[in-house]
Structure formats: structure tokens, C-alpha cells
């Protein structure tokens, strides 16, 4: 662990004034909340910030549900949100995605904000033994593209980076049209979560739209009848405590035996949480009959691009969509 200094500001304004920035390896100062991802990155020298700014006690951790929907204070832990009775009742997709993430102990520590901002599991990023990683060291190249890439993305990739976003929570939230409230020294702004993470393009080291001195303050999820009829399907090598090989978050509004509207997002396959609007459009009005589901799911692969070891994900993600829609559709 590289030496660093720590600030414990007495309020959020003071913390924001220190202009730390999450999710960028070239930022000299970074915020820390639960720390479950940050301390790992520090331990392995993947992050070597000069300064950490603690957000402990400075951010909202309330979980509120009203007619408008759900509002999650960003400091709420994964365990608190997953076990919240109202979340379980009205937004089971969120609870399922959380319970499929990490382990009970990590869920006790890790926060909503940290979950959305956790860094990729790409082994070339996570191990400083590799010189080439554009995300960790901008301009150094991408070792994954010609290397071992079974873990990597097939959607939204660029010639500079094919790393996946590892958050299960973000996949569920994107499917539910969630938005994030961003707080900065100059005030607040809100934007859809689907626009929060950036595609890698030529700048994979910039992962989100956060500017220096900005933090996520809250996550809001609009109320909808689809939120209840949902399923989070996570495909992974072992039954727990592993990042998704492929995952599918599905929320359905049904009209009798037919789908009125489907909202679907994928994990493990995209460089960011990946919404599939073409699949959703094809499913509108469709029955739950396997053939029509498969035809619709195939549209998810339209712009998919495998790199060899991860080619299998292209077919697998379509199957995940079909199965998750079937399971969600079968729910009352």
C-alpha cells in the first residue's frame, strides 16, 4: 500500500471542496466510503492516490419509498438495501441483484455509491505486473485484447479497452430506469444511471461523468408495476461470491399472457451496464412462447464483438435473456 494522507472533513461541503474524484487512476485525490473495493486496489498498488477523503458519516443512508418510487441514500449498505422489506416487496430485482453480489460480510460494509463506482475485475487492470492497461495507465495499451479475455466484454468495447463493469446492482437499476443525483460544490444535478458510466472509447481511464469534487448523493428509481414482475439471472462458474460471467435483469409489464413492456439490462457483457432497447421493442406485444423470446433476444447480439475466449458470451447472454424473461413472466 502506497503511503497516502487521509482527510475526515466535518461536512459534505468541506469534502466536496477538496475536489477528490472517484474512478480515475490519474486523480491525485479520491473519495473513500465503505472502502471494500478501494482498499483492495490500494493493497495491490493499482491505485496510488496521494490523498484519500473520507465520506464516512457525510452522506445520506436512508431508504425511502413513496408513490414516486424509491430513493436510496448513497451511503446505505448493500446489506441494508437488500434486506429492506419495502425494497424486497416492491423492487425485488434490486434485492436479488444485491444478494447475488459479493458475500454477506462485504455487503455489510459496501455502500450503494461504492458499488456503482467499483472498478473492473479485468485481471490486467487489477495486477500491476502488467504494464499495458489503458484504464490504469492511460496510453499504455490493452493487454486483454490479444490476451486471455474470457472475462471481458463483447458490447461497447473499443480498441483501447474491453473491460466489463462488474456491478450487479447497476444492471438491475439500469433496467428499472434509475437515476443518480450528483452533488458538487456548485449544486446538484440528476441524470439517468444509464448515462452515468461512460463507454471506454479512447479514454477508458475516465469511467463516469463525475467531475472533481462531485459525488453521488442518491439513487432514485421510479415506481412502476414492472418493478415487481422481475428477475435477476446471474450466470457464473460457481454458485456464489463471483462476478457475473453473464447476467440479465428483466422487468416486465404484462397484458394478460402478453408482454406489454419489457425492460432488460445485461451485465458481464458490456463495458458498462447494458440496456438492450431493440430487444425490449421486439418483446412489446410478444407472448412468452420460447421461439419469440429467442428471436427477440438475438437482437442483443447485433453489435456484439467477441475476442476469442469470450465469444461464448454472445450466445449465453441471449439464453440468459430468454430464461430471465420466462421466469419473470411466470411470476404473479
Amino acid at each position: 500500500m502506497h503511503p497516502f494522507t487521509l482527510d475526515r472533513p466535518r461536512d459534505l461541503a468541506a469534502a466536496l471542496a477538496l475536489r477528490a474524484q472517484a474512478g480515475r487512476n490519474d486523480a491525485p485525490a479520491e473519495y473513500i466510503a465503505g472502502g471494500t473495493d478501494m482498499v483492495q486496489l490500494l493493497q495491490e498498488y493499482v491505485r496510488q492516490p496521494e490523498r484519500l477523503v473520507s465520506l464516512a458519516g457525510l452522506l445520506d443512508n436512508r431508504i425511502e419509498i413513496g408513490p414516486q418510487g424509491l430513493r436510496l441514500g448513497v451511503a446505505a449498505t448493500m446489506a441494508e438495501v437488500a434486506a429492506d422489506p419495502a425494497v424486497v416487496e416492491q423492487f425485488p430485482l434490486i434485492s436479488e441483484a444485491l444478494l447475488n453480489s459479493a458475500s454477506p460480510q462485504v455487503r455489510n460494509q459496501a455502500t450503494m455509491g461504492g458499488n456503482l463506482l467499483q472498478r473492473t475485475r479485468c485481471p490486467y487492470f487489477r495486477d500491476v505486473g502488467y504494464a499495458a492497461c489503458n484504464k490504469r495507465a492511460p496510453g499504455s495499451g490493452c493487454a486483454a485484447i490479444g490476451g486471455e479475455n474470457r472475462w471481458h466484454a463483447v458490447l461497447g468495447t473499443s480498441d483501447d479497452c474491453i473491460a466489463t463493469n462488474p456491478s450487479d446492482l447497476a444492471v438491475a437499476l439500469v433496467a428499472l430506469d434509475a437515476a443518480v443525483e450528483i452533488r458538487g460544490a456548485g449544486g446538484s444535478r440528476s441524470l439517468p444511471l444509464v448515462d452515468f458510466h461512460r463507454l471506454p472509447a479512447a479514454t477508458p481511464h475516465i469511467e463516469t461523468v463525475l467531475e472533481p469534487g462531485e459525488v453521488i448523493a442518491a439513487i432514485t428509481v421510479p415506481a412502476s408495476s414492472a418493478a415487481r414482475r422481475s428477475h435477476y439471472l446471474k450466470v457464473r462458474d460457481r454458485a456464489s461470491f463471483e462476478f457475473a460471467v453473464v447476467s440479465a435483469a428483466v422487468a416486465l409489464e404484462m397484458d394478460g399472457a402478453r408482454i406489454r413492456q419489457a425492460r432488460i439490462a445485461l451485465g458481464g457483457v458490456g463495458t458498462k451496464p447494458w440496456r438492450v432497447p431493440r430487444v425490449e421493442a421486439a418483446l412489446a406485444g410478444a407472448s412468452l412462447e420460447p421461439q419469440s423470446l429467442r428471436q427477440a433476444a438475438a437482437l442483443a447480439a447485433e453489435n456484439a464483438h467477441g475476442r476469442g475466449h469470450n465469444d461464448f458470451k454472445i450466445e449465453l447472454m441471449q439464453r440468459a435473456i430468454v430464461r430471465a424473461v420466462e421466469i419473470a413472466g411466470a411470476r404473479a
Binding site: 505486473g129 490476451g147 450466470v235 461464448f312
Partner: protein, 772 residues
């Protein structure tokens, strides 16, 4: 009653449960320095120079030790401990890299500092000038002509070549009704005990004795290697293995880091501790990794085996610390529990620029079992027979015991299966699993679109390898019963086991026996804890030594009580006159007498001290056996495999402690499940390791582990006085074979055939896709 055979609660548990265990990193000595290691980031490179000045400038950094800084005796490679004439290039690793590195993680320098954080800061600032060289990564490519040389200047990467076999294999194939061939790629990852390597070295300035606390499976070997390299006398070096957090083979080896840490303690005249972290463990603790088997089986029209032949390629890694032991065991275990009239296996060991491979739990046997069992399943499939029936037709029958296979084992002795009833063992497993009723269940769920399958894995295991292990049993005048055993414990519960054995001989409860293990200062000679050998070797020694103490106690009591020896009995810590229990002497009183009185001669025929040291030396290995049955469900859309049931029947001879044997088997099976489905140490084409944390290298967790249902057989071996066979590795050996068989069975509608482990989802999806 007998303590051997009882479910005695472990004496080890209370301290460990209260956090009062003493592992190496729990030991703190005054003035102690913490070491961190500069390791190569390249798989193959020349070292042009090292600049440690920036590291030395950090406050709290005391020294940086490189090859050039070592005393001369330490500037040499470690010795090859198990030579073999088949080895062409006996290349061994230096204590610290001399002028080249041959795998990512090879130790180059030690930074010594006040704490580990500062030492790691120092590592970050040591500048090594590397000249990278082409690397040999995949062993199949490395074996080919023209591949990059793993060791610059060598003509090829073939470390060793040899063949084992017996009978006329080619003739058997010439007259066979059927010949079936398989190419099998097997990966076994690494041992991954939960405690990484740890060591602490300190030279006492008063006596000059160097003490090394290390979580080693072989304290005497570590001492002997150190003495052999440096010329130090045995009694100037003491190696102590305190509580150790698992080993599974990885801690048998004497590593360069052990010797380097000792050298650093001598150089600084301070205690030096090195605690490996998990990333370093992935890089530089030995693994078992890759083998490629190309094997053929010849059978007659009834599925009776006529012969087996083939070739085996083994990834040796960059160095050969234990020679060619692993592939040798693989090749000599291949015939398994079956009558194979003719057998021939050619073995090629290949150098790669990866950390060395040495035995991990099972030690090459899981691969042999996988190869043989895959062939058995193939015969069954091709001949339309039940897999259980094919095996039944080929097992060595009980009435042919002892059965000489025709091979010579790694210890130079003939492979002779001493005892066991293999067909009965299979039947026990099948009955327990409800094998006969499974087909109906399989058919009914398949109608629902679910794919269930059942698989069988049978094995034999040469356990209890010699040459010896020692034990001293002593009674003090205070009446304490002490047992000192040289081999070390990594969690198996050896102290409990030895206490049971000694207690039986001395007529006391196991709680009255204090056992010390893992101290080279406690017993003069020792070999180590591996090859499922401690119960056989050290257990027998403890049994013999305690028996000698018993005889002596009766002899002395006979003198003291003026009674004939045959009129005396021993019980409850006393020797007494049969029928007159009030007349007797306690063991403490007898010991006091045996320890002598100042100025008085010892009575004729009575030697000093109520103690004995024994070194039991088995004439050859004793063969344990077993049969596992796995039931799995395969998700044909995602490639997921779920183990629904797992049944074992096994025979490890006399069982000393059923509870502990069941623990060994269950843990072993789950290790095998990891090998079958999850654990893969991946490297890229440049020899760079990719899975260096537990997020990507997947160990089995409680959620994918089934309940392990166990049945026991006990066929005592005639080869040692306890009748015991080893139990520590059998659980692992057939697991991958049984699971692969079950997956094949589940996917029979697709005609899928597993030829690789671990079975990953993408591998399985690819197989299903190709067939459908």
C-alpha cells in the same frame, strides 16, 4: 476399550477456537525485521543490474539483500532433493536470482524494514534492470522444436523423458477386439492452504543456534537442506513448525525464501520474518498445473482389459525441486484398481517459464484416475455396458491379494496392492447412492427438460511411503506422558491421533498424553508430512515406542513389586498385580526409579529412563482404495453443473479416529470438486499469470459443495502394526473422474464426452453446441 477407532474429540480444538493458536505470524520477537520480496514481473529475463539506493533511503528500511549480498554459501542453487536418471537438465532455483529470472514471481531481493508496510514501500523502489527474453508458456507449445527456450542456451525444453510399464502392450493391442483412444487435458491449479507461506529466522547470539519457525510440512527436510547448503551442523539449526494453516503439499518444499530469510537473519543479526501474501502465493508457491494424456485401451469383446498404453506430458515449470516425482506417480498409478495385463506409458516433462510444479493433495494420482476412469467409461459407452459393470469385470478380485502390478513405485519398491476388496467397495458406494434406482429418476426428470447424470470414480492410492518417521514416548517422574513426533501437523489433528495410539498402549486416556509435533529438536531424524504417510510411519513408531515403554514399565514394576511380569497388568496410569489392584506402582513412580538415584547403580537389566524412541520403517507402500459416485445436474443452456449428491466408499485400513477420517475425506472431495469444475491457474502466452486472487481463481465455497455421504470399509494392512493406510488424499483422487462421468451421463442425449478438467461453462457449451 480401545481409543484407536473411537471418535475422540480433538485436543487441538479449544485453543484454535479461542484465537489462541500460534501460527508463525503470531510470533513476535524483539527487534524483529519484516521482509518483503522483490519479485520478477517477467517470465524470463536477464538481470543487468539492481539499484536499491532509493529503497535504502526510506526511513525504517534496514537493508536490501540481493544475490550479491548473500554470504558465499547462500550464493548457490537449492539442491535437487529427489534425483532421477531420467532428468536431462537438473536446473534448480537460486536462493535469490543470480543473473536471470525464469518465472513471474521469482525472488530477486529481500527488503528488510521495521514493518511490512515500509518493507513493501521499499520493494516498490528497488530498480531492477531487466532484459526480457522470449518465454515458454504453454507446455504443449514449449515441447515443440523451435519453441523459445525456458532456460536460455538450452537446445530444447525437455526436462526429462522416461517410460514405465510391464507386459507386452503392443501385442495386447494387436489382438484386441476393440481399441479406444482419448486425449485428455488436465489442469490441477494449486494447493491454496488458507495460510500462505510464513517463516521467521533468528540466530541466538549466546548459543549460535539458528532457529527457523516455518509453516512447513517437513521441518527436518528444511533443516537438512539448510545444513547441506551451508555446512552447518545439524544441532546448530532447529526448525519448528507451529500451528500451520493447511498445506496440501505446497508446504512440503524447502523454498528459496526459507533460505533467504535465514541468510537475512545472519546478515542483520536480528530476527527476520517473512509472511507471504496471497498474490505472491499465486506467483511463487509451487502448483501442480497441467498434464496432457494421450492414452489407448485395448479390450476384448466382453470389455475385459487387455492392455493400456500411451504418453503423458507434464508441465514441470522452470525448476525441478522434487525432480519428476509428480508425473512418475501419475504414470505408476494409471493401472488403478484394475487387472491390466500389459501397460506402457511414456512420460515427457517440459520446462516452462512458470513456477515449479510439485505434488498437491493427490500428487499426480487424480490425473491418473481421471485417465483410467475416462477409458472405463468409454469402454462402457462403446460396448453398450453399464459403467459399473465394466469396472466390475476388471477389478482386481479380493482373492488375488496381495497383487503385484508389475511396476516399480517411486520409492524403488514393487507396486504391490497389499489388501482390499475393490468390487465390494464399489458395491458399497453404489448401494449407498441408490445406483440401481437412479435411471428411473433420470428418465422422469428428463421428461421435464432436466439433465441428471451419475458417474463413478474408483482409485487406489499408494500411501504411507517410507523410509521412516520417528517418535519418542517418555514418562516423567511427575507422571506426565510425553510423546514427541518429528512430522508436522497442518490441521489433520495429529496430536489427537498420536495421543489415542499412545493412550491405548499405556492404559490411560488420550487427555493424559501430551504430544509435541513438528520440531526438529524433538526427534533427531524426520522426513515430513506428505504422501498420506504420517499415520502409517509416525503412528506406527508411536505405537512401537509406547509398547516398549509399557514393557519396560512392567519390567521395572516387576523388580519393585517383586512380582513376576506375567502377573502384572497396566491400567489407569499404574502397573498393578493382577487381581490385587491396590498393589502397584504409578507410571510416575516407575519413571522416578528408572531415572536413577544419585550414587546408586541401576539394577541389572534395567536401562535408564522410562522412555523409548522408535523409527518404524515400512517395507513398502500400503494401498488404500475407494469408489466415489457423483450425481450432477447440468444446465444445458448455461453450461452450469450442480452436484446433487456425492457418495464415497473407501478403505484406509484400520481407522484411528472416524471423525477425523471423515473430515479428511470430505475436505479431499471438495478439493477434487474444485479441480473438476472451478480451479484454473491461467497464464497468458508470455507466461504472465492471470488469476492471482480468489475473485478469479475460484475455490469451492459452501454454496456449491454438497453433503459428502461416506461409507467405510476397514481392511487392515499387514504392512504395519496398526493396520493403517493413509487417508489424507483419497478424497481428492477420483473426484474429477466421477464428476466427469456424471456430466457425460447427463448429456448422453447430446453424445458429449468430457476430455478436459476443469469443466468450465464455455467448454461445456461448446461441446453441447458441436453435438447438437
Amino acid at each position: 476399550m480401545s481409543w484407536v477407532g473411537s471418535r475422540v474429540k480433538r485436543v487441538e480444538d479449544p485453543a484454535l477456537l479461542k484465537g489462541e493458536g500460534r501460527f508463525v505470524d503470531d510470533i513476535h520477537l524483539p527487534g524483529m525485521l519484516l521482509a518483503a520480496v522483490v519479485r520478477s514481473p517477467f517470465a524470463h529475463a536477464r538481470i543487468a543490474g539492481i539499484d536499491a539506493s532509493a529503497a535504502l533511503a526510506i526511513p525504517g528500511v534496514h537493508a536490501v539483500v540481493t544475490h550479491a549480498d548473500l554470504p558465499e554459501a547462500f550464493r548457490q542453487p537449492l539442491p535437487l532433493l529427489v534425483p532421477n536418471p531420467a532428468i536431462r537438465y537438473p536446473v534448480m532455483q537460486h536462493v535469490l536470482a543470480k543473473d536471470a529470472v525464469h518465472f513471474v514471481g521469482e525472488a530477486i531481493a529481500l527488503v528488510l524494514a521495521d514493518d511490512r508496510y515500509i518493507a513493501e514501500d521499499g520493494v516498490d523502489l528497488v530498480v531492477v534492470d531487466y532484459e526480457p527474453l522470449p518465454a515458454a508458456s504453454d507446455f504443449r507449445k514449449a515441447a515443440a522444436a523451435g519453441a523459445p527456450a525456458a532456460h536460455a542456451g538450452r537446445a530444447d525444453n525437455i526436462a526429462a523423458e522416461f517410460a514405465v510399464g510391464y507386459g507386452e502392450a503392443d501385442q495386447a493391442f494387436a489382438r484386441a477386439a476393440h481399441i479406444f483412444k482419448e486425449e485428455l487435458f488436465q489442469h490441477r491449479g494449486a494447493a491454496h492452504p488458507m495460510e500462505c507461506r510464513a517463516m521467521l529466522a533468528h540466530q541466538d547470539t549466546l548459543t549460535g543456534t539458528l532457529t527457523i519457525w516455518a509453516n512447513t510440512q517437513a521441518p527436518h527436510q528444511l533443516r537438512d537442506v539448510y545444513c547441506r547448503m551451508t555446512g552447518a551442523a545439524d544441532d546448530r539449526v532447529r526448525v519448528i513448525a507451529p500451528n500451520t494453516g493447511g498445506g496440501f503439499g505446497s508446504k512440503v518444499q524447502t523454498y528459496p525464501e526459507h533460505i533467504a530469510t535465514a541468510a537475512a537473519a545472519l546478515l542483520t543479526k536480528l530476527p527476520v520474518k517473512y509472511i507471504e501474501d496471497r498474490r505472491e502465493h499465486f506467483l511463487s508457491t509451487h502448483q501442480e498445473r497441467d498434464q496432457l494424456w494421450t492414452v489407448e485401451i485395448a479390450v476384448d469383446g466382453d470389455g475385459k482389459v487387455l492392455g493400456v498404453r500411451g504418453s503423458l506430458m507434464h508441465d514441470s515449470g522452470a525448476y525441478l525441486p522434487w525432480g519428476v516425482i509428480t508425473p512418475f506417480i501419475s504414470a505408476t498409478t494409471m493401472p488403478g484398481p484394475y487387472v491390466i495385463p500389459a501397460y506402457r506409458m511414456k512420460v515427457t516433462c517440459v520446462f516452462t517459464n512458470k513456477v515449479a510444479t510439485t505434488p498437491v493433495r493427490g500428487a499426480g494420482r487424480p490425473q491418473a484416475a481421471f485417465a483410467m476412469e475416462r477409458l472405463m467409461d468409454r469402454v462402457a459407452r462403446e460396448l453398450g455396458l453399464d459403467p459399473a459393470e465394466v469396472r466390475r469385470r476388471n477389478y482386481v478380485p479380493a482373492d488375488r491379494m496381495p497383487y503385484a502390478v508389475g511396476l516399480t513405485f517411486r520409492d524403488g519398491s514393487p507396486v504391490v496392492y497389499d489388501s482390499g476388496d475393490y468390487p465390494a467397495c464399489q458395491q458399497l458406494a453404489l448401494d449407498r447412492a441408490g445406483y440401481d434406482g437412479f435411471r428411473a429418476e433420470q428418465a422422469s426428470v428428463r421428461a421435464e427438460g432436466r439433465y441428471l447424470g451419475i458417474g463413478i470414480g474408483s482409485y487406489i492410492e499408494g500411501t504411507g511411503l517410507g523410509p521412516f518417521e520417528g517418535a519418542t514416548v517418555q514418562v516423567t517422574p511427575g507422571g506426565q506422558i510425553l510423546a514427541r513426533v518429528g512430522s508436522s501437523d497442518q490441521g489433520q489433528g495429529h496430536r489427537t491421533m498420536f495421543a489415542q495410539i499412545v493412550a491405548d498402549r499405556l492404559g490411560v486416556g488420550p487427555d493424559k498424553v501430551t504430544v509435541t509435533v513438528g520440531d526438529s529438536g524433538g526427534v533427531a531424524y524426520g522426513i515430513g508430512t506428505f504422501a498420506s504417510r504420517v499415520a502409517v510411519n509416525a503412528g506406527s513408531s508411536a505405537h512401537v515406542a509406547a509398547g516398549k515403554v509399557r514393557e519396560k514399565a512392567i519390567k521395572i514394576a516387576s523388580h519393585l513389586l517383586e512380582a513376576a511380569e506375567e502377573d502384572l497388568d497396566l491400567g489407569d496410569g499404574r502397573v498393578f498385580v493382577k487381581g490385587v489392584p491396590a498393589v502397584g506402582k504409578t507410571l510416575g513412580e516407575i519413571a522416578a526409579f528408572a531415572n536413577g538415584m544419585p550414587g546408586f547403580s541401576m539394577p541389572a537389566g534395567i536401562t535408564v529412563g522410562l522412555e523409548d524412541t522408535s523409527y518404524f520403517t515400512p517395507q513398502r507402500s500400503t494401498y488404500a482404495n475407494g469408489c466415489h459416485v457423483a450425481v450432477v445436474e447440468v444446465d444445458v443452456e448455461t453450461g452450469g453443473v450442480k452436484i446433487l449428491r456425492y457418495v464415497t466408499a473407501h478403505d484406509c485400513g484400520t481407522i484411528i479416529n472416524t471423525m477425523m477420517v471423515e473430515g479428511q475425506v470430505a475436505g479431499g472431495v471438495v478439493h477434487g470438486i474444485g479441480n473438476a469444475l472451478f480451479e484454473w491457474m491461467r497464464y497468458d502466452d508470455d507466461g504472465q499469470p492471470l488469476t492471482v486472487n480468489f475473485g478469479e481463481y475460484l475455490l469451492p465455497l459452501a454454496t456449491e459443495t454438497p453433503c459428502i455421504e461416506q461409507a467405510h470399509m476397514q481392511t487392515p494392512t499387514p504392512l504395519n502394526p496398526l493396520g493403517v493406510k493413509g487417508a489424507g488424499e483419497g478424497g481428492t483422487i477420483p473426484a474429477a473422474a466421477a464428476i466427469a462421468g456424471a456430466i457425460d451421463d447427463a448429456l448422453r442425449p447430446f453424445g458429449v464426452k468430457i476430455t478436459q478438467v476443469p469443466v468450465t461453462p464455455e467448454y461445456l457449451l461448446d461441446l453441447i453446441h458441436k453435438k447438437s
